[in-house]
């Protein structure tokens, strides 16, 4: 009895998070896979959701200026339901749907309601259809995307822009992750001495990582401007001014530098916490053995902060592969998009959610493969 009560409490306690993860993470994975085989278009979905005043629409369609002396029979002869739905309500119909509407749409009742002034109300396309279809209401309850098989994946394989964005994401990740890890470690080793003003240093390194990526992008937009101060400083050492963010060859490296700047301070705190756990006498003992600074760094410090390194590299890879906000604000040319950004524009700007889903599914497979490989590598290393 007690056991069952504990089971029950356990399930009850985890139920909310299961629902949230189920609805907003697990269901979407399967939905994305389904969408990736369709020509999902969000605009088509809105056709059934947009609301209208039925009376206004009918008056416009039937060219009626006065509601007096209307005759249902005359109106019926002028009324073509499929045509009305397409041209007046803006819902696109395919051949099957047209045929079914010809057969089962209750035009007579609609005209009677119209004449009796019962149609003066707002409704959506799907509400209208379920009201006046005598059969097959479900067919018009919403937009069903058409199954297109592997078309989206073929399109993806042949889309040079997709490959370019994928390369940009990978390039971003393999350059940024090691550099930010190295800078963070270097700063942590430097800060792990008896340093005055350590609080000030910690705060100044940490501020970038507690600032919204949107605000940071704004700050750097100013710094990277052609007459901005980065060009001024480079001017002192004789480098001519560059329009960092408009130029396709410099835009991505500029955002990468900004990304390193944002994260290095946070990771430095991680390393510093790790270094402070290392017993001081261990480092001093190596000193007595005559180890120089460099060998001490590689042979003593690096192995001791291995857990932190693996944590930082994992977080770094995950973060950089998905980088979006900074790209959204600072990158102007499609050639410099990352995959996350390319998925976004396809889905929300070009209304090609099917195609965007195909890229997303590919991206998921890629990240899962990388994660599994990385897990294996790290596990093997830890045996040493």
């Amino acid at each position: 009895m007690k056991k069952i009560r504990e089971w029950f409490a356990g399930y009850l306690f985890i139920l909310p998070i299961i629902i949230v993860v189920g609805v907003f993470v697990i269901y979407p994975i399967f939905a994305s896979i389904y969408y990736s085989f369709t020509n999902y278009n969000p605009l088509r979905q809105m056709e059934y959701k947009n609301t209208f005043n039925l009376q206004d629409q009918l008056e416009q369609y039937l060219l009626i200026f006065s509601m007096k002396d209307l005759n249902t029979k005359d109106l019926l002869s002028q009324f073509d339901p499929a045509d009305f739905i397409q041209t007046q309500l803006g819902i696109k119909l395919d051949k099957d749907q047209r045929a079914i509407i010809e057969k089962y749409f209750d035009s007579k009742r609609l005209m009677e309601d119209f004449v009796n002034l019962k149609t003066n109300k707002r409704m959506s396309g799907s509400q209208f259809m379920s009201e006046y279809m005598s059969k097959y209401k479900g067919m018009f309850s919403g937009y069903t995307p058409t199954w297109v098989g592997l078309k989206n994946f073929y399109q993806m394989m042949n889309d040079p822009l997709f490959w370019k964005t994928l390369w940009n994401s990978i390039f971003f990740s393999i350059i940024v992750t090691p550099i930010q890890t190295f800078i963070a470690l270097l700063l942590a080793v430097a800060a792990n001495q008896k340093i005055k003003g350590i609080k000030f240093f910690k705060l100044s390194f940490y501020i970038p990582s507690i600032t919204s990526s949107a605000a940071i992008s704004m700050l750097f937009m100013l710094l990277y401007a052609k007459p901005g101060i980065i060009n001024r400083f480079l001017g002192f050492i004789g480098i001519p001014p560059v329009d960092w963010l408009s130029n396709t060859s410099t835009a991505l490296p500029a955002v990468m530098a900004m990304n390193i700047w944002t994260t290095a301070g946070y990771f430095m705190i991680v390393f510093l916490a790790g270094l402070q756990n290392i017993p001081k006498d261990l480092i001093e003992a190596s000193e007595l053995d005559g180890a120089t600074g460099w060998t001490r760094f590689w042979k003593i410090i690096i192995p001791l902060v291995k857990p932190q390194i693996s944590y930082v590299v994992t977080l770094g890879l995950i973060g950089t592969l998905q980088v979006f906000d900074q790209i959204y604000f600072l990158i102007q040319n499609q050639q410099n998009y990352t995959t996350a950004m390319y998925i976004y524009v396809n889905a929300f700007n070009y209304n090609q959610m099917g195609y965007a889903s195909a890229i997303a599914v590919f991206f998921l497979a890629l990240i899962m493969a990388l994660t599994l490989i990385q897990r294996k590598v790290i596990k093997e290393e830890s045996y040493f």
């Binding site: 993470v25 507690i210 700050l219 600074g293």
Partner: protein, 293 residues
């Protein structure tokens, strides 16, 4: 000993250089935010040159000068008049506040269950949940967006908050903490006749207060700064959050640098205050997650 001294000197140089690199963007933003606004003359922006170097600061004048012009704080007021900035602050507080509250309750409950309660399938469910951390967000946004459209949650607080109201990262943090509480504490309470809810709420959770604080700080800051989710859910400017609103100062014709910098700094100040007030929790999480992760 001398070797140590050299090492320390080098350390200072490294730290100072990086501190300059780290702070310069903020200092520059501050200078720009207090520079007088430019105005348009014959279709060309006229006034101070906020790009110039050196920034010609003179703090001995009244008022002090930046970029060779009298400094002003009026830009900070302007931000509130040219945009619904107060509304954005409110939206951001509602968004971050409710998401934090939800995470505190739901992540703690689930964390407690996975740490202290025994029920069939516990480990499988936990592994499955952890596995979802691997899923990159571009994979989920399209279906989630469509869900929100179908339930008419676009441009609503509910649409912003619900998908974020519990998180696996928070669950993981809370579980780790509950696991570090010795089982004897629970056993003793059990002998005293305390039920599961009382043990969770009155025995173990008070011990876990530091974990709650850490979770609250991280969730609040993450949501406050979040840009991506408001971008998906909100399109009406009255529903924007602060991060989302920043784009408002940039039109295709002209960028209002002074206002943009003022708005960017305004939304950063609360984060700095939180960081300074709760600094020790920041170090704690980074250590615990690194050792166990």
């Amino acid at each position: 000993m001398r070797k140590w001294e050299i090492a320390r000197k080098i350390s200072y140089i490294v730290l100072i250089i990086y501190a300059i690199i780290s702070l310069t963007p903020f200092i520059w933003a501050l200078l720009v935010s207090i520079a007088p606004m430019n105005y348009m003359l014959n279709g060309k922006p006229t006034g101070v040159n906020i790009m110039q170097w050196p920034p010609e600061i003179n703090i001995f004048k009244i008022p002090p000068e930046v970029f060779g012009a009298p400094a002003t704080i009026s830009n900070y007021g302007q931000v509130f008049t040219v945009t619904p900035y107060a509304r954005w602050i409110l939206n951001t507080i509602i968004y971050a506040g409710f998401v934090t509250l939800g995470n505190l309750i739901l992540d703690a409950m689930a964390g407690y269950a996975f740490a202290k309660l025994r029920f069939p399938g516990r480990n499988y469910i936990f592994t499955l949940l952890l596995g979802t951390l691997m899923v990159p967000f571009p994979v989920t946004i399209i279906p989630v967006y469509n869900l929100l459209v179908n339930f008419n949650l676009v441009n609503t607080y509910a649409g912003l908050i619900f998908p974020k109201v519990a998180s696996v990262t928070g669950l993981f943090l809370m579980r780790q903490f509950y696991m570090s509480i010795p089982d004897e504490l629970d056993e003793a309470a059990k002998v005293d006749g305390a039920g599961i809810f009382r043990r969770f709420w009155q025995i173990d959770s008070p011990v876990a207060l530091p974990a709650f604080a850490t979770l609250a700080i991280y969730t609040f800051m993450g949501t406050w700064n979040d840009f991506f989710w408001p971008l998906i859910v909100t399109s009406n400017k009255d529903m924007f959050t602060l991060a989302m609103g920043l784009n408002y100062f940039r039109t295709s014709y002209y960028t209002f640098w002074q206002l943009m910098m003022a708005a960017s700094l305004l939304m950063t100040i609360p984060m700095i205050i939180i960081f300074l007030s709760f600094q020790r929790y920041f170090v704690e999480t980074s250590t615990s997650s690194a050792v166990k992760g």
